[in-house]
């Protein structure tokens, strides 16, 4: 009975000892972490993969944990001047990560100080880069002119080079907003309004011009149409008249003398009406019987 409980308590004791030893010497590196093992303050080893690791207990060796994940740094808006002296508010974000934890520890030591350093480098590089580009290269409807991606690419490369000594890697650098400073907004709005007014005016005047043109065109077409029709009509009438004349000529031409005679008689009939007064000499053919008696008629 005693040996059994002895072995039992021994077992418990061994587990307890293992537990304590484990706490002092074993440690877990999480998926999201890198760990630097420092010996008496000097970094000796960096572990960047998650897993179970061992070290000598404190104070011989201690561990410092760093976040291995990609971090997104979003500094405040910065004001920059472009090459053509335009004042712009630029908001950026930088995706960065700790690539070399030992170097990081030696040079910076913490994420806030890293952010300060990145911010400085970023503002100087971005300012320099923007100073080389005109605003029309940042925003442009012509894709050949729009060089925003090129600008951020160049800035990212330059920043990457400058942060490499700190054990940092710049994954990506992007401009997330471009805007005008408050003090320039009024003039920007005025310009926009003026441009809109100009466009509105252009629509109005173009519309008016087009409408007038259509109307004038319509009037002209109408005149042309009617003139054409008139010409055609007159031609038809003329042809008809000619044809009629031809008909008359060929008919009356058969006996022009008789035509003259007949036609004159018809004219007498037409022109002498109730209002006409005839003065007839008695020696006219008509009245010859009256003055000369029937014997005169031959």
């Amino acid at each position: 009975m005693h040996r059994k409980s002895l072995r039992w308590t021994m077992g418990v004791g061994v587990i307890a000892i293992l537990f304590v030893v484990g706490n002092l010497m074993l440690f877990v590196v999480d998926e999201t972490e890198s760990v630097v093992i420092t010996q008496f303050g000097n970094p000796v080893r960096a572990i960047t993969q998650g897993g179970l690791n061992w070290k000598l207990p404190d104070p011989i060796q201690s561990i410092t944990r760093y976040d291995k994940r990609a971090m997104i740094f979003t500094p405040e808006q910065m004001e920059f001047l472009t090459a053509d002296k335009k004042d712009l508010l630029i908001e950026t974000y930088t995706c960065w990560r700790i690539k070399d934890p030992i170097r990081f520890m030696r040079a910076l030591g913490s994420v806030p100080s890293a952010e300060v350093r990145i911010s400085d480098i970023l503002s100087s590089e971005a300012g320099a880069a923007l100073g080389n580009y005109e605003m029309s290269q940042l925003i442009n409807t012509d894709p050949a002119e729009m060089k925003l991606a090129e600008l951020t690419g160049k800035t990212a490369t330059r920043c990457s080079e400058r942060v490499a000594p700190y054990g940092i890697e710049i994954v990506d650098l992007r401009i997330k907003s471009i805007y005008f400073p408050q003090k320039n907004l009024d003039s920007v709005y005025s310009r926009m309004k003026a441009e809109r007014e100009r466009i509105a005016q252009k629509y109005r005047s173009e519309g008016m011009a087009e409408a007038t043109r259509i109307r004038a065109q319509a009037d002209k077409e109408k005149q042309t149409l009617l003139a054409e029709a008139y010409k055609e009509a007159e031609t038809i009438k003329g042809n008809a008249d000619a044809q009629a004349i031809g008909v008359y000529a060929s008919a009356f031409g058969r006996d022009p003398e008789f035509y003259k005679f007949l036609r004159t008689l018809q004219t007498y009939e037409k022109i002498m009406d109730e209002n006409t007064t005839l003065v007839l000499p008695t020696d006219s053919d008509l009245l010859q019987l009256m003055s000369q008696g029937p014997a005169a008629a031959q």
Partner: protein, 368 residues
């Protein structure tokens, strides 16, 4: 009870004697404690301690002490059970490193902490984030609530946009462990950049009207590219412009352009209507002219033909008469017939001309 676990008096001292001594002392302590809790016959039962002692009196402390570790071990191992709900995926980290990232739904077991840890991620729920709009379920807001998002267009105009993106988790492991920022924060930053770059290529008229859908697609593509580059494990499923509008200060000027264009179109439309009706009427007039001329032509020719025919007929008759009566007689007859028609109508004055007197007698006196 007499203990004979004391240090061995005979034989060499072993290194575990000190340990055994400590253990013996612990057992003494335990015995004293159980004696303390055992009820005293000559004392009245009172107090909580006596009640508890009475309740647990039947337990054998030794057995309990032996069973306790086993029970603790069972509880510990039992804590490794976990449930993955439908729509979720489980990710297991073993000593910190991701060893399984696609645990499906159901009841599972893993080694409890500190050996293994499980995180569950909902991979089917669609989440929303926006720029220029407030998404109330995200606290704290990364930009102040109600803040407008201004973007410059390719032709140096400004528009305010409200964009809402919907996204799901694409890779649970990446989603959890690759980027240090709330997912909606990552999405928001990528969206802003994508919007800035996309709208910076379009004119203000394009983004307000014609190419909105194209812009939405471009923004989705660009933002997704960034998300993939950072390993965020997020997939954008939809991007939507809730609003695109010029800033308040210039809104009227923009409206003015719309109404100017409408006016212009109306003027042109009216002019075209005028032209159509004018031409229709003109065509009618033209046709009428032609028709009238044709009518005149027919009439004239017909009349001529009629007149000619009549003349020919009269000529025929005249010739016929001439053959019978002689030309002079016929002509005289025609003449007199005409005079008969005229004379009754006109006023007549007879004037004597020529020699002689007017003799109205029918018969001359020289005849007897």
């Amino acid at each position: 009870m007499p203990e004979n676990n004391g240090p061995a008096k005979d034989g060499p001292a072993h290194w575990w004697d000190g340990v055994l001594q400590a253990v013996a002392k612990l057992r003494d302590l335990g015995r004293k404690l159980s004696e303390y809790f055992a009820p005293q016959e000559d004392e009245p039962v009172s107090g909580v301690g006596d009640d508890i002692a009475a309740a647990f009196k039947h337990l054998h402390w030794g057995r309990v002490a032996r069973l306790l570790p086993a029970a603790a071990l069972l509880v510990y191992l039992g804590s490794g059970l976990y449930v993955v709900r439908p729509g979720e995926v489980g990710v297991i980290r073993t000593f910190g490193r991701v060893t399984q990232d696609e645990v499906g739904e159901g009841l599972h077991w893993r080694w409890p902490w500190p050996i293994q840890k499980v995180n569950r991620v909902n991979v089917t729920a669609v989440q929303r984030e926006g720029i220029g709009v407030d998404i109330p379920e995200h606290k704290p807001p990364i930009c102040p609530p109600g803040a407008e998002f201004h973007v410059l267009t390719g032709d140096e105009n400004v528009v305010n946009i409200k964009v809402v993106a919907q996204y799901v988790v694409q890779d649970a492991g990446d989603y959890l462990f690759r980027v240090k920022l709330e997912p909606y924060g990552i999405v928001r930053n990528c969206l802003k950049h994508a919007a800035t770059e996309t709208i910076g290529r379009l004119s203000v008229d394009d983004i307000l009207t014609r190419r909105k859908v194209e812009a939405q697609n471009a923004i989705q593509r660009l933002a997704q590219k960034s998300l993939d580059l950072y390993g965020a494990g997020i997939k954008l499923v939809n991007i939507n412009f809730e609003d695109v509008a010029p800033p308040e200060a210039v809104r009227d000027a923009f409206k003015e352009v719309s109404s100017a264009r409408e006016e212009a179109e109306k003027k042109i439309h009216d002019a075209e209507a005028y032209r159509n009706s004018l031409m229709a009427r003109a065509q009618g007039e033209a046709d009428q002219l032609r028709t009238e001329a044709e009518g005149y032509a027919v009439r004239t020719v017909k009349q001529a033909e009629g007149d000619a025919a009549k003349f020919l007929q009269m000529t025929e008759e005249y010739r016929k008469n001439v053959r019978i009566y002689s030309e002079d007689v016929t002509r005289a007859r025609y003449f007199l017939e005409t005079m008969e028609k005229i004379m009754p109508r006109v006023k007549k004055y007879l004037v004597k001309t020529g020699p002689g007197q007017l003799n109205l007698r029918l018969f001359s006196p020289s005849e007897d």
